[in-house]
């Protein structure tokens, strides 16, 4: 039987565009061109420019497919030029989903940095969908300045959800900022979870990943319980082109989330 073409992106349109910060925007697509589970990612095509990998930031149980994207390279710069109704393509989902069932009855500890909070949002929304299944969901989120925080309007609503505990920090505050000031690790001095049981999830820039992981290991999280979103150069998304290799792992196929147990012996795994 002839196989489906895994390189073909499903055409869809941009339904809405929500600016988050000066260089981060959420793109909401029309319909649900792909069904995904929390932890999986997709390749987003900007026609005639190319594609880049992103983890959806929307709920896998919702009716929208959203990507929160930072303008950093050729494809994302072109994406930011697009308007509502413009054509894009989506391939996926790729990679492994989080083993959500294994987290039932446990405390969940999520640490995000900058735009790294975007993929964690789909995890968070998946957890919220069945919030009673989990003991408590903690979010520790940091960005450079208050203006660099994504989902600023949504966070106050999330803070009201029973069983959710969210703390924010910024490297540099402004006159109106009342929360913590400092890099995200300042929120990790006190980790109020059962370290022997709780899974931790981290996503952010390479340096943040390095120091947060170090802190979580020191705090006593089990290495196999520290889930790390790996940002790697990806082309095919299906474990063939070889670009995203980290040690023996294909980040696109074995990841995009690997555990500290997986990568701890690799020199500078977050680079």
């Amino acid at each position: 039987m002839e196989a489906l073409n895994p390189y073909y992106p499903i055409p869809t349109k941009i339904r809405d565009i929500i600016p988050e910060t000066s260089n981060i925007t959420t793109f909401i697509l029309e319909g649900m061109p792909i069904q995904f589970e929390a932890g999986q990612f997709a390749e987003l095509t900007v026609p005639s420019v190319g594609e880049a990998p992103f983890t959806p930031s929307s709920s896998p149980f919702g009716d929208d497919l959203e990507f929160t994207v930072m303008k950093v390279g050729r494809v994302t710069e072109a994406l930011f030029e697009l308007k509502k109704g413009d054509l894009v393509g989506v391939r996926g989902p790729f990679g492994k989903a989080y083993p959500l069932k294994a987290f039932k009855g446990k405390e969940i500890f999520i640490v995000g940095g900058g735009v790294g909070f975007a993929p964690l949002r789909s995890l968070f929304l998946a957890l919220v969908h069945n919030i009673k299944d989990y003991k408590k969901v903690y979010i520790r989120y940091g960005a450079r300045t208050p203006d660099d925080l994504v989902y600023r309007k949504l966070i106050p609503q999330w803070q009201k959800i029973k069983g959710v505990d969210i703390t924010l920090t910024v490297d540099v505050g402004d006159g109106a900022w009342k929360d913590t000031v400092g890099v995200v690790t300042v929120l990790l001095d006190d980790i109020p979870v059962d370290l022997a049981q709780a899974p931790a999830f981290v996503c952010g820039p390479p340096l943040m990943m390095k120091f947060v992981t170090q802190r979580l290991v020191e705090a006593g999280f089990k290495h196999q319980n520290i889930y790390l979103s790996m940002e790697k150069n990806m082309s095919c998304g299906i474990g063939k082109c070889n670009h995203c290799r980290v040690g023996k792992f294909y980040v696109c196929k074995d990841g995009p989330v690997l555990t500290w147990e997986d990568v701890k012996d690799i020199e500078e795994p977050f680079l």
């Binding site: 026609p47 005639s48 393509g89 082109c241 023996k248 680079l271």
Partner: protein, 334 residues
């Protein structure tokens, strides 16, 4: 195992008959190198089955250096073209073995590779005279086809001794039975002698085997070993593009009329931007790390997933290298 003989004066006839069913590529000797060329009715030809593998690897028959893998927004399918590759050597069969594992056996199946592979009949030929660059005996294979091919031939005095490995191979013998006869004891004995001779020569060329824990030694090699290994590299990357087992590629999109074509091109892990991400981070910004990645990929990672080295011992990397870096020397030292 039944062996057949394709008498010398029937070789060209078989090629001509196969050409009625699809494109036939056969090896010719030119400037002391062999090349696979396409049979054309109007040209006289003299196939060579004795020289080592062709100068070019054969992966482009299944995985062209530039390939349209999808069209957007409306996709179109690849046209299946029947082709016969005649005279392929065992090292290139190993290359196909590696490709089969990546593009056919590992999910999801690559439909382009699948179409070309299913429409390609592979007739391999023994490699009776290994050259100084050859080291197939060090990477788990020998100088003749034992699988992957549909049919393997050994050139003997009276013609090609043929052994079938697949139904497609058997069908060739059956369909063109007038050209074949049963191999006699004399030819079978000659084939044994040719094979023994080739193995003996390979043993002389490569006296030392690689150490049994080679994969582990590559993983644990220190910076000094890596620095020493790559110091002569001038970054021409001939080794990777000439390699029959390297399969790295890059997808990029181009506008063509109203449509967009997604193009797959060969890539190589030695390029500086190969692993760099949009934000600028690069896990292998240093040439030394990229150079060693090739060894890790071929002898450690692939071995862990598939239980074999992604190296065919064809020696094209050494022959193509501007600095004449011999991969064997690096591996023997470990």
């Amino acid at each position: 195992m039944k062996l057949y003989l394709l008498p010398s004066n029937n070789i060209k006839s078989l090629i001509k008959k196969l050409a009625q069913d699809g494109s036939v590529y056969y090896p010719i000797l030119e400037d002391d190198k062999t090349h696979l060329v396409k049979y054309a009715e109007d040209k006289d030809f003299e196939p060579d089955f004795e020289k080592i593998r062709t100068a070019e690897n054969i992966k482009h028959f299944f995985f062209p250096s530039r390939d349209v893998v999808a069209k957007f927004p409306k996709d179109s399918k690849i046209k299946a073209v029947k082709q016969y590759l005649f005279g392929v050597k065992s090292c290139d069969l190993k290359g196909i073995d590696v490709y089969d594992r990546v593009f056919l056996k590992a999910e999801p199946v690559d439909p382009l590779y699948q179409t070309r592979r299913e429409n390609t009949v592979i007739i391999s030929a023994d490699c009776p005279k290994p050259a100084d660059c050859c080291f197939c005996n060090l990477v788990g294979i020998g100088p003749y086809g034992t699988g992957i091919c549909d049919l393997n031939v050994t050139k003997t005095t009276n013609g090609l001794v043929c052994e079938t490995f697949t139904k497609r191979g058997e069908e060739i013998i059956e369909k063109y039975q007038d050209l074949f006869e049963d191999a006699g004891k004399e030819e079978i004995k000659e084939r044994e002698g040719i094979r023994k001779g080739a193995l003996k020569d390979l043993g002389k060329i490569n006296e030392k085997p690689f150490k049994e824990d080679l994969a582990e030694r590559i993983e644990k090699a220190g910076k000094e070993v890596m620095r020493d290994a790559h110091k002569e590299c001038v970054e021409c990357f001939a080794c990777l593009h000439a390699c029959p087992t390297c399969y790295c590629f890059l997808l990029s999109d181009y506008k063509k009329g109203k449509d967009i074509e997604r193009i797959r091109t060969w890539d190589a892990c030695y390029y500086a931007a190969y692993a760099r991400v949009g934000g600028g981070a690069n896990p292998r910004s240093d040439l030394m790390e990229r150079f060693w990645n090739r060894f890790l990929c071929k002898f450690n990672y692939f071995n862990e997933y598939e239980g074999l080295f992604a190296c065919s011992g064809c020696g094209r990397c050494y022959r193509g290298c501007s600095a004449k870096i011999d991969i064997r020397e690096i591996l023997w030292k470990l």
